[in-house]
């Protein structure tokens, strides 16, 4: 079975997002171990980008901190490559298409495969766009996790779920990441039932705007897993030093897991 799909077996998966290199690649490494020890099922690592147009302010700022610290995609992949023997939880890279295009699509697929990365999410690369990336990810056996949104048509849903592997990323509302003003999409149940009918066996991960345990509890019955990014980054940022930051991350994951 696909390494990512396996993480959804017999449980609600918790998927957490952190921004690679925020505020340093050393801290990213420590956070990965911490999240792994707390029992997170999948970890998404954001590739920092100057113009992250699907992201709200929290992840925008996280990207900026990472870039200021000199993080590049090359350095990020090198770091993940170096620590791969200590990481058991599957890692997923999430980034904008320009970063990958600039790196070289084939080189990217090859290098992240060597670094032990299991999946890739590219929020600004729709299923029907021309991109060699799709081909190379398949060639190197890396899952391409695609996104659907509450307003995705049936026709597109079919195409997207056919092309997605690992899981299907269901965006919880119309908006950017970390937008907790939006609330939960009012017809969440209908939306996810509709997606499930088309997606079949593919697990459904729900993300965008899930800001803590309360919201997690309300929605967990509808999906197979939840994705938390901005809310986690916020609590990490609230720490005054590295230990506090790691500790905050651990406490936060515990509080979410208790609701799953």
């Amino acid at each position: 079975m696909n390494k990512i799909t396996a993480q959804f077996q017999n449980k609600n998966a918790l998927i957490t997002y952190i921004s690679g290199g925020d505020p340093s690649l050393e801290m990213t490494e420590k956070l990965i171990y911490k999240l792994q020890n707390e029992g997170v099922d999948l970890i998404e690592i954001g590739i920092p980008f100057s113009d992250p147009l699907a992201d709200g302010p929290v992840i925008q700022e996280a990207s900026q901190r990472a870039l200021k610290a000199g993080t590049t995609l090359k350095k990020l992949i090198a770091k993940l490559d170096k620590i791969q023997n200590r990481v058991e939880v599957p890692l997923i890279l999430m980034g904008y298409y320009n970063s990958i295009l600039n790196y070289g699509e084939k080189e990217f697929a090859r290098d992240i495969s060597k670094a032990g990365i299991s999946g890739v999410i590219v929020p600004d690369l729709p299923v029907d766009e021309r991109a060699d990336l799709f081909k190379y990810l398949a060639e190197f056996d890396i899952s391409q996790i695609m996104l659907v949104t509450p307003n995705t048509s049936e026709q597109r849903l079919k195409k997207i779920s056919a092309k997605s592997s690992g899981f299907l990323y269901c965006v919880a509302h119309l908006g950017t990441t970390g937008d907790d003003q939006q609330g939960i999409y009012p017809e969440l149940e209908t939306y996810l039932n509709r997606v499930r009918k088309t997606a079949g066996e593919l697990p459904l991960g729900l993300g965008f705007g899930i800001d803590g345990p309360e919201k997690a509890k309300k929605i967990i019955d509808y999906s197979d897993g939840i994705i938390i990014g901005s809310a986690l980054i916020k609590v990490i940022q609230a720490g005054n030093n590295e230990d506090e930051m790691l500790n905050n991350a651990g406490q936060f994951v515990k509080s979410i897991k208790s609701k799953l």
Binding site: F49, S50, D51, P52, L53, A54, G56, P57, Q60, L67, T72, L73, K74, Y96, Y97, N98, S99, L101, N102, Y103, P123, D124, L125, P126, D128, E129, R130, M146, L147, V148, T149, N151, T152, S153, R156, I160, V171, L174, G175, T176, D179, Q182
Partner: protein, 394 residues
Amino acid sequence: MSRGYFEEFGGRFVPETLMPALDELEEVYLALKNDPEFINELKALLADYSGRPTSLYYAEQLTKYYGGAKIYLKREDLNHTGAHKINNTLGQILLARKMGKKRIIAETGAGQHGVATATVAARFNLDCKVYMGAEDIERQALNVYKMEMLGAEVIPVTSGSRTLKDATNEAIRDWVTNVENTHYIIGSVVGPHPYPEMVRDFQRIIGDETKEQIKEKEGRLPDYILACVGGGSNAMGIFYPFVEDKEVNLIGVEASGKGIDSGQHAATLTAGRVGVLHGSKSYLLQDDDGQIIPAYSISAGLDYPGVGPEHSYLKSIERVKYHSASDLEAIAAFKLLSEKEGIIPALESSHALSYLEKLAPELDQDQLIVVNLSGRGDKDINNFKKIREAEKDE
């Protein structure tokens, strides 16, 4: 539906949330494009509301000054709101109305597109928000007052480089969030399909009129057409009807700011590499890691690190030649036109005008040059202090 590519450039690189809106826009646009009722309504608005056709003016004094080719100016500065931008916003507001959208958003750099959008939103009684970089708000205060007077809300954007690129990011984020009731009026031939094609079609009236007018005045097509290029809408507008007329040389002029070597410029086609920004694949200013480099130009309307995908295509097939002009060259052209012809041009258009110095004297007196005077310079007057400082630094 077509995929919106000009060979390798263009496409639709956007979050999935926007796909239904782009499909709907494309469908409505393609349906209305050839609908006589839509065509007539737009034509009437362009004529009676904006004052089209704009004139093709023989700049006799400027021609004498350079002593070479005969110079004509396509007077887009005479449009309502002072620039070519309204050609596009009038078209798009009619589409928004057709789609039943209640809310309009736009990005703006120099504020010309913001004013043109606020204007049509007022005319059609739609709610309007304009995203504008905090830096540009300072540089273009006059246009901010105008937009507010017209009832639009101007939202300062403080993320990133605080200019047009960041205002565009924020507008896209707003659209992702409010896509069900909102139409995003993009101001240039950039963005995801169908925008580059649609905005070009709304702007081609500049070139269509020019063709007719020059034939009437000179009995033939011009030898050269010059236009400034930021995102590239005024240039696409005047170039497009001439693309098949191979005898007409088309020249786009980008902003080289303080010089290409200084790193402070906006010369995307001259110094950029192919990448993806704001929904389409085109030339971009980016670093080794693929991060977008903030553009720089004294003119806020050219201060953009991307360029329309069709320009990238026209460059790749060498149909259009792209050059660049610096801040100081643009300022000199700005003054020269004011003094010689009594026309104060926008700093954006001054970049195109500045190329005359290299071109006009080299040509024979029976050769013809048309410069697209895309906007008027009133908005830049209060920048004059900064302009003088820039000259002192020389």
